[in-house]
């Protein structure tokens, strides 16, 4: 059943209709989410800036999810020696980095009207920043090793070390935040969400997930094509 996960040809067949489907789904869900969001009454505390939350929070949640996907793909690629899994891990990294960056930017934009500064070292934003460093380190290692197979395995090891380390980092940043309890305004990452906001919120999360799925499939297809082109080039050169 899951043959499309490890058989490149089956994967290409699946992603041919899968990628556009997820893309369309993402657009529809996103549109619905944003429409419901703007249709809801403005938050009494934050006014219109609450809308940034619908961009920021799903982005940060997805950035963590993508890292998990990266870890799983790395594990499968390392243990079962599946080149498709290696390609999937490699393809996911820039998407994760982009999402993390988006989360940081929107977090900063949200913070300005709320707390008055462009950046604040609260637990979540700091953890996001470290996550960005994880992604950047992964991509740097990928770029630094010429041999593709070796690069993929080295990055897989790094990803697994990162997956183990990430909860530790989140915990340590939380602990650090409680130590330096400057202002209670920063605690708990913002006010609780009113129930009227929940449906658009979930829609946005689904939209982001769908968008990620679509882009990931597209990128993996690109990886598969690139490798096939490489093999052909090497054969032609002999």
């Amino acid at each position: 059943m899951f043959a499309f996960l490890y058989n490149p040809d089956r994967f290409m067949a699946f992603s041919r209709w899968g990628a556009p489907l997820f893309g369309v789904l993402a657009v529809l869900l996103g549109a619905a989410g944003l429409w419901l969001d703007f249709a809801a009454p403005p938050d009494y505390q934050q006014g219109y800036t609450i809308h940034i939350m619908f961009i920021h929070v799903p982005a940060s949640m997805l950035s963590l999810f993508v890292y998990l996907c990266l870890g799983v793909a790395s594990f499968l690629g390392l243990v079962f020696r599946q080149p498709l899994a290696e390609a999937a891990a490699r393809a996911a990294a820039p998407l994760g980095a982009g999402l993390t960056f988006l989360a940081l930017i929107t977090g900063s934009l949200w913070g300005k009207p709320m707390w008055g500064t462009w950046w604040v070292w609260d637990a979540r934003l700091t953890s996001e920043l470290v996550l960005l460093l994880f992604y950047l380190g992964y991509m740097a290692l990928q770029a630094a090793i010429d041999d593709e197979a070796r690069a993929a395995r080295a990055c897989a090891i790094l990803a697994l070390v990162g997956v183990v380390n990430l909860p530790i980092v989140v915990f340590s940043v939380d602990w650090w935040n409680t130590l330096h309890q400057g202002s209670t305004l920063f605690a708990k990452g913002g006010p609780a969400m009113a129930p009227v906001y929940l449906p658009p919120f979930f829609l946005m999360i689904l939209a982001y997930t769908s968008a990620f799925g679509s882009l990931w499939l597209v990128r993996i297809r690109g990886e598969v094509w690139r490798r096939r082109a490489n093999v052909l080039a090497v054969r032609a050169a002999r």
């Binding site: 041999d147 593709e148 197979a149 490489n230 093999v231 090497v234």
Partner: protein, 204 residues
């Protein structure tokens, strides 16, 4: 103790470049083998695959002992010497320090290290720093562990290149003694070995 090495239908590639396929070879105790082939044919890669560094695309490499099949990792860790192009010597340390480490690491003793030092005529050189030795002298230091730590299978990658004619002959004697004692040698060479050996071609 390895008594036989069997390679069946081995296929190797370096990066995206396939080297060879369907390569089979059986080597028993007391047998020297000379691997021949063009540059880039895959002789070094074959040696490294036997040593367990490179994972083959297809095929099997098996070690047999007196009591049957041997665990590959154990056979490689205990009964195999690999001498590659590089000597593995640290330039800032003295020849004797490095020789002693390599001998101890591969299972030899102080006494056997001394004997090897004698046999390779390294007495005058032992106190010198490795950086002050010539390539041939460094190769002799690296050869010491072959003599001092008894391991059955010798994988040699162009071992004679830095040695002069006298030392090539000398090393031939060492190899002959090893083979006579039941050892196995697989050497990748461009020139003929100083001992009679079965020639095996690598690569298409």
């Amino acid at each position: 103790m390895i008594s036989a090495l069997s390679i069946t239908n081995l296929a190797l590639s370096r990066g995206d470049r396939p080297l060879f396929a369907q390569f089979s070879l059986t080597v028993s105790a007391g047998e020297p083998v000379a691997l021949t082939g063009a540059n880039g044919a895959g002789k070094t890669s074959l040696l490294r695959a036997i040593a367990g560094f490179i994972r083959p695309d297809a095929g099997e490499i098996g070690f047999t002992g007196a009591d049957g099949a041997l665990e590959a990792e154990e056979a490689r860790g205990r009964d195999l010497h690999l001498l590659g192009h590089l000597d593995g010597l640290k330039s800032g340390r003295s020849a004797w320090e490095e020789l002693l480490f390599q001998v101890h690491w591969t299972g030899g003793t102080d006494a056997s290290a001394e004997a090897a030092c004698e046999a390779l005529d390294l007495g005058r050189l032992r106190a010198l720093e490795v950086r002050k030795l010539s390539a041939g002298q460094r190769r002799r230091v690296a050869l010491a562990r072959l003599i001092a730590s008894p391991r059955t299978l010798w994988l040699l990658d162009e071992p004679l290149t830095p040695l002069d004619a006298a030392w090539r002959a000398r090393f031939g004697e060492i190899m002959a003694a090893h083979v006579a004692g039941g050892g196995m040698i697989i050497a990748a060479v461009h020139d003929p070995l100083p001992i009679p050996a079965r020639a095996v071609a690598v690569g298409a």
